[in-house]
């Protein structure tokens, strides 16, 4: 069977072969299999050395001190640790938290939990159309009892980039902690935590060609940020996150981040050319719209709405591609993407969206194929669509009285 072309790099990435090789050397009896916490013998020392080297690679990609990196199981855990950890430690100083409506569920649901515990949360609307969260919008909702602002660096659906450097200036001036979910930005845009006034930052390996199941949280030392641990045990990671360190996973993340630092600029330039080519190629169709700001977005993301075509049926038609949709029908909830709705998109356009995310193994031939395949699929479904007929007959679809069901 010929496998579909993978264009869902924002969901996860394959592990780079060089990363897989490094990981395999940490599993078997002849390899580096020891427990990094074993202080009494060679196997432990060797594993600890590998883990600390990996920590150094993660820190280097974001210009941080290795002592500021806490290993976790992934960005979901990092987000939970940052948000609940800060809320728990500083609860006597305030009870207000600021986030946005386009955050990942790991942030939104952690905030919902804190609301149940008595905290107050403000969910910022992104700018209509662009999906951007501007520093002025953040500043406008800060209160004297605001403890924490938590925003994502790059949005997972629309690929837009938040100006975290500018927002960090606002929060630091007010003495408010700033957490950034950087799951989607490592290896895609430069991060300089020495310069940026970010206090906590979440990372994961599997969106940057590392393995699933491993991540990290950056916790600033100067000025020092304190956290209440969420997982208790042997006191690993200076008490912030107990649990035996998974040497092979951490080595994998370290190697993935080391490669990202070396190759990201070249890789992003290449992806930008391919992404722009894809977007230009889709312009041959009518009524195609880009979701999210056109310029302030990562190179590998193209989120497009094909008006009058429903997203799930389009995904079925695009069976030679692996892409994702903001349509209700691809989720169990039957709700269209809350991110696209927060942008102010109509339900039809939210239902009609496809996210193409390109990555390390995407080729120009892939893109040429996608343009032809997608154009054909959209035209076929429009021939089936009563809404397309209405549009062609000049009927304004928003003026029709639909019977909701």
């Amino acid at each position: 069977m010929k496998r579909p072309i993978y264009l869902d790099y924002s969901a996860t990435t394959p592990v780079d072969p060089r990363v897989a090789e490094a990981m395999m050397n940490c599993l078997r009896v002849e390899g580096n299999f020891g427990n990094p916490a074993s202080r009494s013998h060679f196997y432990g020392w060797q594993a600890e050395e590998a883990v600390e080297e990996a920590r150094g690679h993660v820190a280097a990609l974001v210009n941080a001190d290795p002592r500021e990196i806490v290993w976790t199981s992934g960005a979901t855990e990092s987000n939970n640790l940052a948000i609940k950890g800060v809320a728990g430690f500083y609860k006597s100083k305030g009870k207000h938290i600021v986030t946005s409506k386009i955050e990942h569920k790991a942030v939104l649901d952690a905030c919902r939990q804190l609301e149940r515990e008595g905290f107050e949360v403000t969910y910022l609307d992104p700018e209509p159309g662009t999906g951007l969260i501007h520093p002025a919008a953040v500043e406008a909702v800060l209160r004297d009892d605001t403890l924490l602002v938590s925003l994502m660096h790059v949005n997972n659906e629309i690929g837009t980039i938040t100006d975290i450097a500018a927002i960090g200036e606002v929060t630091r001036a007010r003495g408010i902690l700033f957490h950034v979910d950087a799951a989607q930005s490592t290896g895609k845009i430069d991060i300089d935590l020495d310069a940026m006034k970010v206090d906590l930052m979440s990372f994961c390996a599997h969106k940057t060609y590392g393995p699933k199941g491993v991540g990290a949280l950056y916790v600033r030392r100067k000025p020092r940020v304190r956290l209440e641990a969420q997982i208790h045990g042997g006191g690993h990671e200076r008490g912030m996150r107990s649990g035996t360190l998974a040497t092979h996973q951490l080595v994998g993340m370290g190697e993935a981040f080391r490669l990202a630092k070396l190759e990201m600029h070249e890789e992003q330039a290449r992806l930008r050319v391919l992404r722009d080519k894809l977007w230009a190629g889709l312009q041959g169709l009518e009524q195609v719209f880009l979701n999210g700001d056109a310029n302030q977005r990562i190179a590998g993301n193209l989120n497009v709405s094909f008006n009058f075509v429903e997203g799930e049926s389009l995904i079925m038609a695009l069976k030679e591609l692996a892409v994702s949709s903001g349509s209700a029908c691809t989720s169990a909830s039957l709700e269209p993407s809350y991110v696209l709705r927060a942008l102010g998109l109509s339900d039809e356009l939210a239902h009609s969206s496809i996210r193409f995310t390109l990555g390390r193994f995407t080729t120009e031939d892939d893109i040429d194929f996608v343009i032809g395949h997608a154009s054909q699929a959209v035209n076929r479904l429009r021939d089936l669509s009563p809404l397309w007929d209405m549009y062609k007959d000049g009927v304004d679809i928003s003026s029709v009285e639909w019977v909701a069901h």
Partner: protein, 127 residues
């Protein structure tokens, strides 16, 4: 989502796609659903002098099961009287296509579309 072979067959080779003349006295048109919900079905029937549905056409905006459900009912209503067509139940559609629970609403919509088309035809004929 894994669909049944029947859904995939109707989705890839939809039967009776198209439009009939809405103004024609022998044609009944039903349009159900809403873009906001992610599916809109237009079903049309052409009824002969003996009261038999001799032709049916559909156009559907929606997911694969919505397209398959409407394609299937165009096949089923042909050759039936209006009363016979009106008695088609969504459960029969869902069973035939082996729709997963989350897609049952697509079969409900197809049943509604048949009923709406019949109602439109009957209204034209003062029934």
């Amino acid at each position: 989502m894994a669909y049944s072979d029947k859904v995939i067959d109707h989705y890839e080779n939809p039967r009776n796609v198209g439009k009939l003349d809405k103004a024609d006295e022998s044609v009944g048109t039903g349009m159900v659903g809403a873009p906001a919900c992610g599916d809109v079905m237009q079903l049309q029937i052409k009824v002969n002098e003996d009261g038999i549905i001799e032709d049916a056409r559909f156009k559907t905006y929606g997911c694969g099961s919505a397209i398959a459900s409407s394609s299937l009912v165009t096949e089923w209503v042909k050759g039936k009287t209006l009363d016979q067509a009106a008695s088609i139940k969504n459960t029969q559609i869902a069973q035939e296509l082996a729709l997963p629970p989350v897609k049952i609403h697509c079969s409900v919509l197809a049943e509604d579309a048949i009923k709406a088309a019949i109602a439109d035809y009957r209204q034209k004929h003062g029934a």
